[in-house]
């Protein structure tokens, strides 16, 4: 049992990367990582030996995160619907600025879209793995991914949202 500790700890850097992108803040991200590790340690019995420990840790982190988001009821509501507009307030002049704007633009995505996008694009999980981590059907992963990418593209390009999005079937 004791050798699980290093096995879990080797995933900390990736958990931190995902948490940083998800929360957008260093302290909140590290709190999320620590809460995840503590929960994972207690729930280790539920992890099936032989299956992907990293994917399981992301599952635990997702559950911890969702609970934290739910607990934030008294805070101003997030943007939930896909129609809400978000426009950057200044033009971008350099690549550096663009990368920093991405940070801000990510916050313009609803939580569930941001999670899917980050698991796929940043953490490079397969669609199937992302579906299992989030506990949703793969079709939902695809539709959230599609909406997240298009929304992010429009935010980054300073385009109004909603108009012109063509989903081909």
């Amino acid at each position: 049992m004791s050798d699980y500790e290093p096995r879990i700890e080797q995933h900390i850097p990736r958990l931190r990367r995902y948490a940083r992108a998800l929360t957008g803040e260093r302290t909140a991200a590290d709190d999320l990582v620590q809460d995840t590790l503590e929960r994972a340690w207690v729930k280790l019995r539920l992890w099936r030996p032989g299956s992907d420990l990293r994917a399981w840790l992301f599952t635990v982190m997702h559950n911890v995160y969702v609970n934290q988001v739910r607990a934030r009821v008294s805070q101003p509501p997030m943007i939930h619907d896909d129609e809400a507009a978000y426009l950057p307030d200044r033009p971008r002049q350099s690549d550096m600025l663009e990368v920093r704007d991405l940070d801000v633009a990510l916050k313009g995505l609803p939580e569930e879209q941001r999670e899917v996008l980050l698991l796929v694009a940043l953490e490079q999980l397969s669609y199937d793995e992302a579906a299992r981590v989030l506990g949703i059907p793969i079709g939902t992963v695809m539709s959230r991914l599609s909406r997240a990418r298009e929304r992010l593209r429009r935010i980054m390009a300073g385009m109004p949202e909603g108009a012109g999005l063509r989903i081909i079937k």
Binding site: P13, R16, R20, L37, W41, V99, D103, L117
Partner: protein, 251 residues
């Protein structure tokens, strides 16, 4: 060669490099002749690259000291440490509430756990008709019982720990229909898993153990279902199976 139409999902799989080679070529050809989609694909690829450029540096940061797996306090030598860790990990599933188990004297089951023990005692000795629907018709069994209980039920797979599904049946319970699944090992030792819909507000409980004559029962509530695993086997072995059942239902 008939080409499938290119879907939105194909475009994303193309961006993420998740397509098989043959399909990739087809999607590439499609994108080449659809400028609007080509523009989107390029933008999405740029997003992937930008996300990594922005957040990959986190991988190289030194991990703050406060981040880490917490060692249980007071852990002594390695062996004792391992035992403590094993116990705590187990606690994650069954809680620290095995009072009856630890004190040795198991209480008699009450309420629905007793119903489960009685159902076990009634049906497990059956030679010709142990179940209504045999394991060969597992899909039908699951659909039928899900329909009657009014919630989706799952049949845990216990083959890895030596118990094969025999089948299942529907039974009357104190608050509506209940389901019973039966398993047996190669020696013919049978276990039954009893499922009832949980109408209380309780979302989750720890494992509890009770004993009715020779039948031991581990029972717990998990979301909208109550589970009771019954068998005339050693408590440790029954706990091992109950833990596997729980894990199967909460992957």
């Amino acid at each position: 060669m008939s080409k499938l139409p290119v879907t939105e999902s194909d475009l994303h799989a193309y961006v993420d490099g998740a397509l098989a080679e043959a399909r990739r070529a087809e999607v590439e050809a499609y994108v080449a002749s659809h400028p609007e989609d080509a523009e989107r694909v390029a933008a999405y690829r740029q997003q992937n690259a930008a996300l990594r450029a922005l957040y990959d540096p986190v991988l190289d940061e030194s991990v703050p000291e406060r981040i880490g797996v917490r060692r249980p306090r007071g852990a002594g030598p390695t062996l004792r440490y391992a035992a403590v860790v094993a116990w705590i990990a187990l606690g994650g599933v069954i809680g620290w509430h095995l009072q009856a188990y630890r004190t040795g004297a198991a209480p008699e089951p009450v309420g629905w756990a007793r119903q489960a023990a009685i159902a076990h005692a009634t049906y497990s000795p059956e030679v010709r008709h142990p179940v209504e629907v045999p394991a060969e018709q597992e899909t039908h069994l699951v659909n039928w019982l899900s329909k009657r209980l009014g919630t989706k039920v799952k049949v845990p797979y216990l083959g890895e720990i030596g118990y094969a599904l025999v089948g299942g049946r529907l039974l009357p319970g104190d608050s509506g229909p209940v389901a019973q699944f039966m398993y047996q090992d190669t020696k013919g030792q049978r276990l039954t898993l009893y499922l009832r819909t949980n109408r209380d507000d309780t979302r989750e409980t720890a494992f509890r153990f009770a004993q009715e004559n020779n039948v031991g029962v581990f029972y717990w509530i998990d979301r909208n279902l109550g589970y009771a695993l019954s068998g005339e086997i050693d408590k440790q072995e029954l706990l091992r199976v109950a833990t596997t059942v729980y894990r199967q239902l909460n992957p």
